[in-house]
Symmetry: none
Subunit: 185 residues, 4 copies
């Protein structure tokens, strides 16, 4: 792939993520292309359909989830409590809610997600480790499945309409805190 093509691809994924997290599941691909500064045709060259594009964005997210997990593991020894908190809030700040649910609906069913490099497995693997540590350290009660945890974060980080942010500033962060506390033993 040419260098500029790779750059376009990255720009598209970034734009997609940003718009998805900001404006929710209904973003139009044209808007994404515009935000990325390329033509709509370019988007479709890189991703032959809406599904594939969303899957691509999810790949990006998986990458960052890995980063958050790695960071968590790296700083666990020094201060487990802080690491755990940063981990959960870090995940939440990725705001993958809209993305995860949007995709899931038709991507999961069609097996696309499995055929695309095992994104799900990769993500799950990383989370399993951290959740294990948290459980051992007493931050997490027993019986919390990774997938439930993951889907929970998704549920509470789906973008809320603008007026919610105005009326209830920090609502998302508040929810994350409630979620964490609710998961403690």
């Amino acid at each position: 792939m040419r260098a500029d093509a790779a750059a376009n691809r990255r720009d598209l994924l970034d734009a997609g993520w940003r718009l998805l997290a900001q404006h929710g599941e209904a973003v139009s691909l044209r808007a994404v292309a515009a935000e990325a500064g390329v033509g709509i045709g370019t988007l479709y060259r890189h991703f032959p359909s809406r599904e594939e594009f969303l899957l691509g964005v999810f790949g990006e997210v998986a990458e960052r989830i890995g980063g958050v997990a790695a960071e968590c593991l790296a700083s666990w020894e020094r201060d487990p409590g802080a690491a755990w908190s940063r981990f959960v809030h870090g995940l939440a700040e990725l705001e993958y809610g809209a993305l995860a649910f949007q995709m899931g609906n038709y991507v999961y069913r069609s097996g696309l997600i499995d055929s695309a490099g095992g994104v799900r497995e990769r993500v799950e693997g990383e989370l399993v480790v951290v959740l294990g540590l948290a459980r051992a350290a007493g931050f997490l009660r027993d019986g919390v499945e990774v997938r439930r945890f993951f889907a929970g974060i998704a549920a509470i980080t789906r973008p809320m309409p603008d007026h919610v942010d105005e009326m209830l500033p920090g609502q998302s962060g508040w929810l994350v805190d409630v979620f964490m506390r609710g998961l403690a033993p």
Copy 2:
């Protein structure tokens, strides 16, 4: 034919609620009409615009919220813990997530909701009482605003894609439990 019309109206609201809870904020009114078994024109006869329709559905929800609250108050004496739990889960089962956010977005701002019989005030008033009891009984920590609570339930009951229910049966209930526990003192 008055009776028929009333039945249609009810069917439309029911269908709207069901589809909204199931498929999210983007339901097409055509689909709602079809689900209700009437023509699209009939929907528009009863509700002259999308907004008005959503407002209508929200009215229904408000009604049921009132019912849940009343039920809670009625059984509080006998067993506060059970009443509180049934209350929160009852609210969640209404699945007003998609609806609440969708409406809020443009209805709230335009004041429609205020001009429509004070739906918001009514709902808030009812919740205030129950939350007060819960706080006194030690089920709820201090400083939980009614609106945050309400929006929290909305956030965790926004429709999730079908596959979530398959992969994680009872996810919604699980989240509600986490939410409740997270709100305890």
Copy 3:
């Protein structure tokens, strides 16, 4: 026909004329029924289709055209010039433009107009007499066919959008004057 039915019929025709002259050819029958203070069903009981209704309204207009012509004839002796002027302006004030053209398009073709009591013939007969007088008195040049005259009035009295009345008050009357002058020998 019952007395109240006849009254309804008359109200409908009046309302139709008024709205047609005011808001142009696109008036909805529902609006007409509302303006007349009856249900839409009542309109359809009296006139089985839009066409028939418009034809009915045209019948009314024909009546009034007859009135204008009769008045003209009655006062001709006293002051032919004034009578002629009042005649032309009187016709114009009937504002049958929207009506005549709206109907014409499909009513004429289907022969409806002939089967409905010879409205056209009646109108034409009345105009022929007056135009004959006017020609003889030197107000009208030769060769002006009655139908052209009639259609001319229609053309210049079709309702113009509101902004025209604001920008060019009296435009319609001005046009009628130009029309009259243009028809003089």
Copy 4:
């Protein structure tokens, strides 16, 4: 494909003009697209709304009005009478009636027309010159405002139903003649 797009745009404007002049202000954009031989989406690519499309057609008309005026000025010296007659009939043959009033209605008010290249000013400027010459040459009486003149042409060239052309061939031209004569001193 630039060339194709330009051709499509032109076809759309042509079709719009034709249908507007023929069938009046209520033409459906779908019909226009069909007449132009393109999909409805293509129309909307070139003109993002009905207003913009009508404005586009009006731009075309303005162009041709300019042409008619220029032609008039060019041949004025040789034969002012013929030039004046060709000018008025030329304007009338543009049949901008439906268009002018339709646009005026919402475009004028919203200032769109001013922001769109000063269409109105351009048109008025051209007409002013010609009307001035005509007045000086004794073809036009004093006090005829440009806008009244323009609106007058519009009024008498609004599309008449088909049957008028059948029953009264040349009615439009006849009206224009009457109009001209009526405007003479």
